[in-house]
Symmetry: D2
Subunit: 416 residues, 4 copies
Amino acid sequence: MKTQNKRKIINDPVYGFINIPSDIIFDLLEHPFFQRLRRIKQLGLTHFVYPGALHTRFQHAIGSLHLMTKALDVLIAKGNNISHEEYEAVCIAILLHDIGHAPFSHALEHSIVKDISHEEISLAIMQKLNSNFSGKLDLALEIFQNNYHRKFLHQLVSGQLDMDRLDYLRRDSFFSGVSEGVVGSERIIKMLNVIDDELVVEAKGIYSVEKFLIARRLMYWQVYLHKTVLSAESMLIKTLKRAKELAKNNVELFATPSLHFFLYNEINNSNFYDSPEPGQKSILDLFTSLDDDDIMVSIKEWSEHSDKVLSLLSKSILNRKLFRIEIQEERFRKNKIDKIKASASELYKINLKKIDYLVFSDSISNYAYTLEDSQINILNKDGSLIELSEASDILNIKILSKKAKKHFLIYPKDIV
Amino acid sequence: MKTQNKRKIINDPVYGFINIPSDIIFDLLEHPFFQRLRRIKQLGLTHFVYPGALHTRFQHAIGSLHLMTKALDVLIAKGNNISHEEYEAVCIAILLHDIGHAPFSHALEHSIVKDISHEEISLAIMQKLNSNFSGKLDLALEIFQNNYHRKFLHQLVSGQLDMDRLDYLRRDSFFSGVSEGVVGSERIIKMLNVIDDELVVEAKGIYSVEKFLIARRLMYWQVYLHKTVLSAESMLIKTLKRAKELAKNNVELFATPSLHFFLYNEINNSNFYDSPEPGQKSILDLFTSLDDDDIMVSIKEWSEHSDKVLSLLSKSILNRKLFRIEIQEERFRKNKIDKIKASASELYKINLKKIDYLVFSDSISNYAYTLEDSQINILNKDGSLIELSEASDILNIKILSKKAKKHFLIYPKDIV
Amino acid sequence: MKTQNKRKIINDPVYGFINIPSDIIFDLLEHPFFQRLRRIKQLGLTHFVYPGALHTRFQHAIGSLHLMTKALDVLIAKGNNISHEEYEAVCIAILLHDIGHAPFSHALEHSIVKDISHEEISLAIMQKLNSNFSGKLDLALEIFQNNYHRKFLHQLVSGQLDMDRLDYLRRDSFFSGVSEGVVGSERIIKMLNVIDDELVVEAKGIYSVEKFLIARRLMYWQVYLHKTVLSAESMLIKTLKRAKELAKNNVELFATPSLHFFLYNEINNSNFYDSPEPGQKSILDLFTSLDDDDIMVSIKEWSEHSDKVLSLLSKSILNRKLFRIEIQEERFRKNKIDKIKASASELYKINLKKIDYLVFSDSISNYAYTLEDSQINILNKDGSLIELSEASDILNIKILSKKAKKHFLIYPKDIV
Amino acid sequence: MKTQNKRKIINDPVYGFINIPSDIIFDLLEHPFFQRLRRIKQLGLTHFVYPGALHTRFQHAIGSLHLMTKALDVLIAKGNNISHEEYEAVCIAILLHDIGHAPFSHALEHSIVKDISHEEISLAIMQKLNSNFSGKLDLALEIFQNNYHRKFLHQLVSGQLDMDRLDYLRRDSFFSGVSEGVVGSERIIKMLNVIDDELVVEAKGIYSVEKFLIARRLMYWQVYLHKTVLSAESMLIKTLKRAKELAKNNVELFATPSLHFFLYNEINNSNFYDSPEPGQKSILDLFTSLDDDDIMVSIKEWSEHSDKVLSLLSKSILNRKLFRIEIQEERFRKNKIDKIKASASELYKINLKKIDYLVFSDSISNYAYTLEDSQINILNKDGSLIELSEASDILNIKILSKKAKKHFLIYPKDIV
């Protein structure tokens, strides 16, 4: 099983000591692909609002692994048969579920690396690791892609109550200091069971599940979609788009070599997987050398670039002089936006054509529980199953599953 | 203001250090009426299920006081004018709001001291203290009775978001170890404000309020109405009723002197306030000498009493051999109950007339948010007010406010 | 192993969920002898100073059991061979290690039940349980009495770093709110190992052990020997001694039947184990029906007794009007004590002969680490062992092991 | 005082809500010099061992500010006169006390920016801010430099029990997950007082102070000087030294512009403060644009540099393949080191002259309490003062104040 020297314990401020369950998990942890996650913050620029929210995807992946071992142990104790291979495979799947995330994932997907989801990249990286590890990740890949017949294993990795969510809600609330987001993950896990290879929650866990959904919603509005965070991340998208446009026009820009490639080349779904020229790095290799630091140091340099749009945006992010953001239910009137654009154009002596980088409107939406998505099934004492939306009289699940769409308008604060 | 020697700090596992804000509060804390609360557990027999839930009404009263000072400081910092007298009075009101609770309050109200609510007794005790303190509690009494024109002060003592609830939910979840019941009381308090002398919550606090209501509901089903607790407390009621009946029939029973009086006399709303005979104690004095210990030692002795019903019930409570409890939405069929009664009668050789003490059905109900009660008003940024049930799309407030009624059936475990 | 219906989880505010490891442990938990511990507070009257310190010996015993399972799992994972029988036996031994404690243990040992240590009574109770459980506690008893050849098992129950201490320090600091007493029990346990059947601590755990010793010392002075607690418990001793003296003189006193026996009979080492008359209860049975409540309700009644000494002491305890306490390194001068006695005698019109109950001096001592006691051995990386007092340069172990003796003088506050 | 729009609350995972006490503090927080601290981790590469230890100097500065306001409020409540100006000035002093830290402070001081302490740079930055803020930092500067007659104000910023230490110990233990390092800062602060303008601790705080010193020592050995951290930081120093040497020899190296300047120029105490050429940035400006990201992205690029030494070191840091470290009390024998060097030279085909970058020995030392430094004075109840080393019988303060020196030897793991 586990050789002595790989028996490692990791100190986690959230859960205390975390044990690494097996050798291959240890080896995956040590791999540069996984170590890269140390340099990618889980919540991007959220630390501009919650200074403690500096935790990384590395920590989250290990935390999810920890909850996975707890969940598996509970399921086994309840008499569910889980083989050693399945145990290890689902641990690998959860460990690597987010390995394809770019730095500032959301922002980059809207500016630099287009039309490729982080799930696809996670899959590509897992496949590459699988060939490095001579096929030992086969079952993990099956589970990850939901091709394995025991669906509950996939559901533990990706489902309404997966270990990913249970960890990130707890971890994000811990590090942001928004203590209300705390989720009773321990109790939910104790209530899990498997019926016909599907994950279910025992009836007496229903209050915990309700609270989980409410906590998640609270975290959305209070943290993930906090208006100041939204402003910062929108500004980051605009900054990267501007840089990309300048690059297209062959304007010289400082960029770390990794970032330089993605600025000066058009990468998308169709060429991402192209084989590299001999002696060259593959795009995946280049991608996996990108991290938060590349973005941040480039922005720091851009804050003194001669392009006014780029430098204004970059300096504002660097020094956290974030733009004003207004949020409302309805779309903003064109009239209002145009007026602000005119003022901005005048104030900054910036051409109206380029003013869209500084004054812009968009929308966001969020939903806490999706019906189309996998459901949460509640197991009654008599053995019958019932869907949560029927089991819970208190939660208006229909509304939870309805996208809540909000419009926002962003512009520099010195425009009155 | 505050003399040096009364500047006292209390260590509280929940909040850390608690400061006593003024001399009269300190003097009230020292009064035997208040010290009695040290001997009355907040959650009665709940520690049979959650062994840590031994905290007392004394701790809760001081915790509520602590939150009150925090809330008042927030309101003052927001520019609300609160005089020194009002500050002190509302602190006194919250400190004493539960001072009239009997030991095992709910159980005693159904067995020994009838038709008198603990609120009425709290009022009587506060009035008695007011005369001892030469009228210094006048304003506190006005606020407590909601006769003072600034309604928000009463609402802080007793309302949807009063300091009583904010403390007990947090404290009960802390000591029971049900961490999910934890409420972001700190954040809710930061969001309070006053409009037209009514308490309101600023709009961005709505998610915290939603979570508060869900946490409260969770605590109801997981702790306050936990089936084993329900069984224990129902058995306690039956035990005391049996003791009372035996007393009525002049059967000799051990009882501490305080309890003895209430067993051998019929006390109710109409004679509770009667003036005592000269040289005798008033009923209020006798009442305030009763505490949890009187009940528990008496039950311990009764466990060896010759009355089979009394001893069986008492021994079962003493050694935590609690009766089986079944819970369901519908009323239990008479047929089923009668069968169980017959078995019990045969098993214990107890007359069918008396078997109701051992086999019985009843119902409980609960609601987390009452519309008839004071409402929670949300203050929008534009200054408008909106009721929570309209402001929250997610919570089905109508359902929260609907009494959830459940029926239960209790009988000894050795009846199959 | 473990049947489904005895698979029980206990909610503990300190550690979260605690699993009961086996059926016999579950059955012992359910036994009236063990349930009695629910009615005995771990820290006696300490809640007069730290209102949260209401936790019971029941909680502590279960917490110690929990740490024991953690420690055993660590030792097994390090390759130490521990049989299933040994595992269960040492769990039983720790669970029952304190089962012989009287209510307000220290106070009662100085007043009512003389010359019998709680260890002896624990042993007697364990032996009685062993006969009830048809010898299944044989090995547990061997370990408890340190007659088993694998010494480390006894050391886990009773030694410098036993699970008893690790739990009570953590639990007492948790419930008292003295957060500084918190001990890294999880880390110390991870550092345990066994060499030649003796418990050792791996070298890198030395800082945790140092901190454990310092935390323990802090808890002594800040909690266990807090001067107000000392005053309360000394007053309790005097109260019980006075009651006993009155009983000897055939003065009628209220007492619960269990307490009554011990007040009106002289119980000591020589007659404690006497066989009872036929149809009578044994002294052990009487002893195990005594709990905190017997003492407290009796004191409540005594607060109105005609004996001035008894009522003054009792009323002062009941209402927490504790006597003044002075503490100093040197013995108090007889001169000073006599003066105070004279004032007290005059003030209360109490005969000088009896004034010793109200004005008295005594001493306490404490040591955090005893050399005579079992030692803490540190295991170096090279396999050599070294005693802690040699391994730690920072701690003056000699001083830690020296009894720190302090004298105190107690008298009513209204004597100036 | 405080205008409405600057009334800001910061969420801190350690303390909860933190209030910004005044406008100028708010403006300083917003300044780019202070915002830079968001990009400088408090504990450098410690997160390689404790993944949660990503907290920044920004968070620490705000946490220290928070404790400072608590301490000042306690001192004022005890009757010490502290003017509004003093209050604000000492808050500014603590807020800015670490503003001069370079990224990976210790490592950079040994490689790139020589002979200039971070205290000197902090002072230079504060002076620059003072001129920006038209002299409003005059008093803060006086206090910071210990030129103000009320010494206790300086001692709160820098002394045995300053707010800096109280915050960083608590914060570092919180984020590293080493819960044993937790210090009862709240209690120590409650025990502070001022005698003759010097900070003292009231006698009953002595156990908390002892525990603080022990916790600090534990943090030193368990976190600050953890052997793996030591290895990582030593490797960082070697990497930067190698880069600097290559730069000196005009080898081309990737570096962010800010870092480039410091690599290709010799900066030290004598030219740091030189006035810049017209139109050029001052060295201080260049320094304040350096942060952790500059170092980390450069190392990432260097991991593919043609210089074998540079790339080996850089790649090892990047992917956390840290070198082996041996630690012992005595100096390592030259013989042993030379053998390892020879193996390394052969293995990596690296010239023996350059092998010192990969195989090297050095020493570290640590002391928890320095006598020469300001002392901790304990205030007895009788008003007398006594130094801690005399007041504490348990701690061997002489040993605490003795530098504990350890030698270490570092080399790549593939050398057996």
